[in-house]
């Protein structure tokens, strides 16, 4: 018996070592880094600075702006992605003609690299040669400075994100819809309920667990938004469209201020945990009801 346990532990050891080396060590190392500074490669040893990096964040206007932008990106894009994803899923659930083709088409954007998506949207909204201003001009409107005015630039980034990640919502919600039991729906229809009433009072409540799960997953991903902002606006004009991840990237890998970058990353982690914990609690409750 003892031999079996030892064998089991020995076999597990490589996986544990890899996990410690690739996951736990960087996590702890970056945590330590966030409380100090380290001149990587310059022969400057690690210097403990206590909470000074975190204190500096509170006074950093660029950080606050990036945090605000990130929250805005997450709230706006994830909500719209959910609504659109649900609408598409419900639309296909009703089995329209050509539904199979649409089902495949809808998930295409998700398969593209975010950088490619960024370039595509940047080109579409380029002021002079972009399609957006071309169509506005055709309709008699003045051209819009899509990429050089803060709110327009942010809206282009958001549109790109929504376009790319709505399919993610669609995919999960459609799969959930396909597994919704049909008897309550049939019963409601026999009782004279309209399709909207069936959706509102029967289908939507049944989709709640999966809805919360996909919203959480997307929110956690959206908090890390970098590629599209970097390609479409480069954070500009000024730093007005910069996200928290992009600021962290600039601080860490462009300015090589590693301690401060680690502190930014840890505040980001706190945000993600803050999103995740209530959802996990909710799920635990859901499980206990069922």
């Amino acid at each position: 018996m003892q031999k079996t346990a030892l064998t089991r532990r020995t076999l597990l050891l490589p996986a544990v070592v890899i996990l410690l080396g690739l996951s736990i060590f960087p996590l702890l190392f970056s945590l330590a880094l966030s409380f100090g500074d380290w001149g990587l490669g310059r022969g400057i040893p690690y210097e403990w600075r206590g909470l000074s990096n975190y204190a500096a964040l509170l006074a950093d206007g660029r950080y606050r702006n990036a945090a605000f932008n990130t929250v805005l990106y997450v709230v706006v894009t994830v909500s719209i992605q959910y609504v659109l994803g649900l609408a598409l899923a419900w639309g296909l659930f009703l089995r329209p003609p050509g539904g199979r083709i649409f089902r495949v088409l809808f998930i295409f954007p998700m398969m593209l690299a975010p950088v490619a998506v960024g370039y595509m949207w940047r080109l579409m909204f380029q002021s002079r040669i972009g399609a957006a201003n071309f169509f506005l001009a055709a309709l008699g409107f003045e051209p819009v400075r899509w990429l050089s005015a803060r709110w327009f630039a942010m809206s282009v980034v958001m549109m790109a994100e929504i376009w790319q990640w709505t399919p993610f919502m669609f995919l999960f919600l459609y799969a959930a819809l396909m597994n919704v039991p049909t008897s309550p729906i049939d019963a409601a229809l026999v009782d004279g309920a309209s399709r909207f009433q069936v959706f509102r009072h029967i289908v939507l409540p049944m989709l709640m667990p999966i809805s919360i799960a996909v919203i959480m997953l997307r929110a956690v991903e959206a908090v890390k938004i970098l590629d599209t902002v970097y390609v479409i606006t480069h954070g500009g004009p000024g730093n007005t469209t910069e996200s928290l991840t992009m600021y962290g990237y600039n601080v860490g890998l462009q300015y090589f201020n590693l301690g401060y970058a680690a502190a930014i990353a840890y505040t980001l982690l706190l945000v993600v945990v803050a999103i995740a914990i209530p959802v996990i609690i909710f799920f635990k409750k859901e499980v206990s009801y069922t």
């Binding site: 206007g61 400075r145 606006t233 954070g235 500009g236 000024g238």
Partner: protein, 505 residues
């Protein structure tokens, strides 16, 4: 068959091998005891570098990556070595190299970099002084003194120049020579249409063409975030705040207080913001690449850029189009000491060495430093560099390499051989040489953290240009952030290095 170990041949092999080993050891000892040989000129064709593989990192695209490729290939054929070129976008090139340097990884044998980054990179690069000295192919004495100074950091030459940067203004000669435009402009503004000498004239001309000629945009300048806009900004600011005295552009050389938000800087930015309305309709999205592609297509009246725009059109036709002009200046300059504006008789046209000029360096981590030097000296040699700067084999719309050797300015025939019209070549070289040898040509920032300081400036400038912030507010914020960077990096160290880089120590 007789076993080799038991046969008669074995003792011969055994003692022969031992003897060879002793000879090799003796030669190695003798070699180790000898003094370093004097550097000698080696013709690349005589070099035997078969099998040597070099890795070269350079900015991607028309301006820098593409133009060197024909000469790198030429060198590969001559020497038998091979060179793997890694092209990196501008916004990524500094972090890419620095990440490699910090990590101590052997990623590159040759890096093409800017001297403005020397404050951060110097400790990771091989000093080239011993290699340069007496090397006829490197021809150091042929390099203009100002272009030598910028590649030197704390008395060590760390970069071999391939370029010497300078911001210039450009005008559309065809439009400027048009009689109708000349008459109409004079009627409207009361003076003759000519290449602008002042920023006021620059604005008037841009305004005139924007309003009067639907086919020409008034001005083309880099104004978007992350595309080197800060160098356009500094080139405009320098004339408002400096008549040659060191330290007037970036920091007070006494205590490292930022002066970037001085009344002179703010006025320069305010006047620059006005240009948005008389520039190309999408000027706020412009980077230098857009200027270089669009200006030669006869779509703009004025442009600001490095002399890189001093190209000839890709088809070598219509070379009359592009006129070269030293950068304009204001007629007043702000005096930091007295806090007053000084009226001037002549416009204060201060040539600004934005970015200072690309050059090749060898990382200390390279295991092929000798071969790397052979490639660098070949590319920088008078013969090859002339081809680079005159776009001999370059049919792209720009080059990032500008003349930096006396021989580039003297050998007009070389430019004609590159299919330049003789007159255009003379005009271009005269304007460039005049600026590079001016009494107070202004160098760029060269202290640790230069990339970060300039990136913060980029943010402030682009915010003001886009109307997201007032110029004063934007530059005040830049000054605050510069102060924070200086404090973080150590004010005393930064002050000492700043003074050294400005030639004050």
């Amino acid at each position: 068959m007789e076993n080799i170990r038991t046969g008669r041949i074995w003792p011969v092999l055994k003692y022969g091998a031992a003897l060879c080993g002793l000879i090799v050891l003796a030669l190695a000892l003798i070699g180790a005891g000898r003094a370093e040989p004097e550097p000698e000129v080696v013709d690349p064709e005589e070099l035997e570098l078969d099998g040597v593989e070099l890795r070269l990192g350079v900015e991607t695209g028309h301006a820098l990556g593409d133009p060197i490729k024909p000469y790198v290939e030429e060198w590969e054929e001559m020497t038998g070595a091979s060179v793997e070129i890694t092209e990196i976008p501008f916004a990524e090139i500094f972090p890419r190299f620095m990440t490699s340097f910090h990590a101590g990884t052997d990623d590159f044998d040759v890096v093409i970099i800017l001297p403005t980054w020397l404050g951060d990179m110097s400790q990771f690069l091989v000093p080239l002084d011993d290699l340069i000295e007496g090397d006829d192919m490197a021809a150091w004495d042929d390099v203009l003194p100002v272009c030598q100074d910028i590649v030197t950091w704390q008395n060590e030459t760390l970069i071999m120049p391939l370029d010497c940067d300078l911001f210039m203004s450009f005008y559309n000669r065809t439009a400027f020579l048009d009689d109708d435009h000349r008459a109409a402009f004079e009627d409207s503004y009361g003076y003759e249409l000519a290449p602008p000498e002042t920023w006021d004239q620059y604005y008037d001309i841009a305004e005139y063409f924007t309003e009067q000629d639907p086919d020409l945009y008034g001005a083309m300048e880099s104004m978007s975030r992350g595309t080197q806009t800060f160098w356009t900004g500094l080139s405009r600011m320098v004339g408002y705040v400096s008549q040659g005295e060191p330290g007037a552009l970036f920091f007070d050389p006494e205590d490292m207080t930022p002066v970037i938000n001085s009344p002179g800087h703010v006025r320069a930015l305010e006047e620059w913001v006005r240009v948005v309305d008389v520039g190309a309709p999408d000027i706020l999205e412009f980077d230098v690449g857009d200027i270089r592609e669009q200006f030669p297509l006869n779509t703009g009246a004025l442009a600001l850029d490095w002399a890189s725009i001093g190209f000839i059109p890709t088809d070598r036709e219509n070379q009359e189009l592009i006129g070269f002009n030293p950068i304009p200046g204001p007629t007043e300059v702000y005096d930091h000491d007295t806090g007053r504006w000084i009226e001037l008789d002549e416009p204060n046209r201060v040539p600004y060495m934005a970015a200072l000029g690309w050059g090749a360096a060898i990382p200390v981590t390279s295991n092929e430093q000798e071969a790397a030097w052979q490639l660098i000296r070949y590319l920088s040699s008078p013969e090859i560099s002339l081809k680079l700067v005159s776009m001999r084999d370059n049919y792209d719309p720009a080059t990032g390499y500008q003349p930096f050797r006396y021989s580039h300015f003297e050998n007009i025939d070389g430019w004609v051989e590159s299919e330049w019209d003789r007159d255009r070549a003379e005009e271009y070289l005269e304007a460039t040489f005049e600026s590079l040898t001016a009494d107070f040509v202004k160098p760029d920032l060269r202290i640790p953290g230069a990339f970060e300081y300039l990136d913060e400036l980029d943010a402030g400038l682009t915010a003001a240009l886009a109307g997201e912030m007032e110029p004063q507010e934007a530059l005040d914020e830049v000054a605050d952030r510069w102060d924070a960077i200086t404090n973080r990096k150590g004010r005393d160290v930064q002050l000492r290095l700043y003074r050294e880089s400005m030639g004050l120590e």
